[in-house]
């Protein structure tokens, strides 16, 4: 197969997704036809105001919320910053303690780190070997000073789904509000903020075939939270800045599509993913699947290949037209391999040798076949170069 003539096999949907044509079509009129500022009084601005209101209803319907509880923001990171900083600062007189997990996205972890510098204290709960938080650990961590529990719905690297409803119940039993970063979960895990007991929920448009730079924070009515972005009176005075109307409209349409046929969609993606996992584990020895065997996002596969390093894997895959990602330090320019993989008990070597493949709507069985054809060759080549590879795993011995 001529790799250069091949359309890239994109298996990095946890990083970002393409925008669906329906989403682009929904957005199109709001760039030029309905360009008015939703805050303006004249009737012309009604077009953009209606677009924003419609999107708010779409987001609310997708997560079981009321439209008045949905606030748009410029992405998942802003929503996480708002939720954690906003809840911490609003509850400062009540206490100064936050409970979160060791495997949160950096948008939560680094926000907690910043709050520590401001005098808050943070408990970073450990996870088991599959990346699950134990609700019992949440119970033990909560003190009289705890003002927020924040645990993600599903992990971006290993795909592990957390027992969010059970954790929320523990928090509520102690009168503590519960925030969840659901950025990776929308469209993959059915969300109902009422049933699950969620007080604050962050989401991001570009993870479910919507536009980049869009997101939302769900704030349950009555939840104490400070404003993060000060300025004009947009979003009922809680998030300043002229609305990104086309983006918001796109986010609304995207979440509607992503949550419409969630189970059918999940079955198709999970079947491909399962075949990928079986194929990789069956054809490449000294390989492990990271994350939970069953409680995981349907599109996520995360492997550790012993004796090799992730950036090298990515570049050889890229040369063959496959887009993937790794938790190795060398790929990101960060100083440490993935904090998530280390928290599940992996050694540095195993974390450096990790590969994440995340499937999406455009992937086909042929894509899975192609990865299963290329990956053993790529790992084999790097293992023949590596001094760590035992002779039994160095097959064939000579290039």
């Amino acid at each position: 197969m001529n790799d250069l003539n091949r359309h890239p096999v994109y298996m990095d949907h946890a990083a970002t997704t393409f925008m669906k044509p329906e989403v682009m079509a929904a957005m199109a009129p709001y760039f030029s036809r309905y360009f008015g500022n939703p805050s303006s009084l004249y009737r012309f601005a009604c077009g953009s105001r209606n677009g924003v209101d419609g999107a708010r209803r779409q987001v609310a319907a997708a997560i079981g919320a009321n439209p008045e509880e949905v606030f748009f923001a410029a992405g998942g990171s802003e929503a996480d910053n708002w939720a954690v900083k906003g809840a911490a600062l609003a509850n400062r007189e009540r206490g100064d303690h936050i409970v979160t997990s060791a495997i949160e996205h950096h948008a939560v972890l680094h926000t907690c780190g910043w709050l520590e510098k401001q005098g808050f204290s943070v408990t970073y709960l450990p996870v088991d070997e599959f990346g699950r938080v134990d609700p019992g650990d949440v119970e033990e961590a909560i003190t009289d000073a705890t003002i927020l529990v924040s645990v993600m719905t599903a992990n971006n690297e290993i795909g592990t789904i957390q027992p969010v409803a059970a954790i929320a119940k523990v928090a509520h039993d102690h009168g503590v509000p519960f925030h969840t970063d659901a950025v990776q979960a929308i469209g993959a895990v059915p969300i109902d903020v009422e049933r699950m007991g969620i007080d604050l929920l962050s989401l991001s448009g570009h993870k479910f075939y919507g536009p980049k730079g869009t997101g939302a924070l769900y704030i349950r009515r009555g939840t104490r939270i400070e404003t993060l972005i000060h300025g004009g009176g947009q979003e009922r005075g809680r998030r300043a800045g002229t609305e990104n109307v086309p983006g918001i409209v796109g986010l609304g349409r995207a979440i509607e599509l992503a949550t419409a046929d969630i189970e059918v969609h999940n079955r198709r993606i999970a079947a491909m993913r399962d075949r990928l996992v079986r194929g990789v584990l069956g054809s490449i020895q000294d390989t492990r699947l990271n994350g939970h065997p069953t409680e995981r996002l349907p599109n996520n596969a995360n492997f550790s290949f012993r004796y090799v390093e992730g950036e090298s894997i990515l570049l050889l895959l890229d040369a063959r037209g496959i887009c993937a990602s790794t938790g190795s330090a060398c790929s990101s320019g960060s100083s440490e391999p993935s904090h998530v993989l280390l928290a599940t008990g992996l050694s540095h070597e195993e974390a450096h040798g990790s590969l994440r493949l995340t499937l999406g709507d455009a992937n086909t069985e042929e894509d899975v076949d192609y990865v299963l054809e290329v990956l053993p060759d790529v790992i084999g080549r790097l293992r023949r170069i590596s001094p760590l590879t035992p002779v039994r795993a160095r097959i064939p011995e000579v290039d």
């Binding site: 004796y307 390093e309 570049l315 100083s335 540095h348 450096h352 001094p387």
Partner: protein
């Protein structure tokens, strides 16, 4: 991110392997750091007639290992000792700023191999002036070095 020359050297590295009757072996790095280079030398009198390597690491580590072994073939041991990290990077073209530290291990592995060769010959070790894992390389993969 990488130049084509680095990608080419990484994709088709030369001198991968071991030398059975080697005259000097050097190994630097650790799995924790995310890269290990092991280099084998075959030396006649004072000249390197063969150099082979095995590397665990990123594309930069593999490309610079390959390039360094190509460069020291035919060199005297004292010239090879003087081969700098910058010399290897120059021949590779350029590296992204954040990846330069990943190329340093080639120089260190060569010096370690030359010292092993000196030990086998009953000579005293030369001061390697190792630039690896002394902190401040920007690597930080080792927890102890932050």
């Amino acid at each position: 991110m990488y130049t084509e020359k680095v990608i080419a050297e990484f994709t088709n590295p030369e001198n991968v392997g071991e030398i059975a009757d080697t005259d000097g072996v050097g190994e630097v790095g650790s799995p924790t750091c995310g890269d290990i280079m092991k280099i084998y030398l075959k030396v006649e009198e004072d000249r390197i007639i063969d150099a082979r390597f095995r590397t665990f690491g990123c594309a930069t580590a593999i490309a610079s290992s390959s390039m360094a072994t190509r460069m020291i073939r035919g060199m005297t041991l004292s010239d090879a000792w003087e081969l700098s990290n910058a010399d290897v990077v120059d021949v590779l073209g350029s590296l992204p700023e954040a990846k330069v530290h990943c190329s340093v291990l080639a120089r260190d592995a060569i010096r370690a191999a030359i010292n092993d060769c000196r030990t086998r010959r009953g000579l005293e070790l030369r001061e390697t002036g190792s630039s690896r894992c002394g902190g401040g390389t920007g690597c930080g993969s080792c927890p102890e070095n932050g």
